[in-house]
């Protein structure tokens, strides 16, 4: 199932809705890269709240999205990693250190806003 990508001002929001197959992940990578160019986006939020598994392939692909978009001048932040999923990723040995993460969509957008303007974005409130 394709992941919907919404444009919100200078940012893109990709909300993963269901279990992702590898094909879906690769397609998401391509879609985001295309839309970053099309909308001249400065930041991307990838919301993984509904993912119950982030195995090495998905993790690697999300990290790939972060690296590729950065090369295009846009920062990516991954939001909503569930506590159990975080636990499994650490056990798995997944290195996510060079990827921005935030608790949820709101925090993620605030982070991007801050990056963009150099001022704290509208977080909670």
């Amino acid at each position: 199932m394709a992941v919907p990508i919404l444009k919100q001002g200078p940012f893109l929001i990709a909300s993963i809705q269901a279990a992702l197959t590898d094909t879906d992940v690769v397609r998401l990578q391509e879609d985001i890269m295309r839309q970053v160019g099309r909308f001249r986006s400065r930041g991307i939020v990838v919301d993984v709240t509904s993912l119950d598994v982030m195995d090495s392939f998905v993790s690697r692909s999300l990290r790939g999205i972060a690296h590729m978009t950065r090369l295009r001048g846009a920062e990516t932040v991954i939001v909503g990693i569930q506590p159990e999923v975080a636990f499994a990723m650490v056990q798995l040995g997944m290195n996510f250190e060079d990827v921005h993460t935030a608790l949820d969509l709101e925090e993620g957008l605030a982070f991007l806003q801050e990056k963009l303007t150099g001022e704290p974005g509208g977080g909670a409130g």
Partner: protein, 133 residues
């Protein structure tokens, strides 16, 4: 959920099916949500190895009952090329594909029991067990 389910693995959506069935089985047994996630992630790794290296294979899931303990056994098997150097394949970061080399060593860390049987040209069988805490 029955006590034993075989999932044919031929595509990436079968990988998702296998881990979802394991989640349901584990849920029925009263696994914690963390353990369900660890098991589902481990299955994802070994099932993906099937699609990546062998093309097709099978994941057999079975409920184990042993002196009051309950767990889930996962048998991932294929008739693919097998693994040349098992020790190397179990090392973090080693891969002959284009992944991160976390699949087998990572899966091993996520479960309670891990056995690997393979011979070059004769396929691979990985057995995982996760017990309910």
């Amino acid at each position: 959920m029955p006590d034993s389910v075989h999932v044919a693995i031929a595509s990436d959506s079968d990988v998702v099916t296998a881990r979802q069935i394991a989640r349901e089985m584990g849920g029925d047994l009263g696994f914690s949500s963390t353990d369900l996630t660890l098991l589902a992630t481990a299955i994802s790794e070994v099932a993906r190895n099937i699609t990546t290296y062998a093309g097709t294979g099978e994941v057999a899931l079975r409920v184990l009952r042993d002196r009051g303990r309950e767990g889930i056994e996962v048998l991932a098997s294929d008739d693919g090329p097998g693994i040349e150097d098992v020790e190397l394949a179990l090392q973090d970061g080693y891969t002959t594909g284009n992944g991160l080399g976390l699949g087998l060593p990572g899966a091993r860390r996520l479960v309670d029991e891990f056995d690997l049987e393979t011979r070059p040209g004769e396929g691979t069988r990985v057995r995982l067990v996760k017990w309910r805490v």
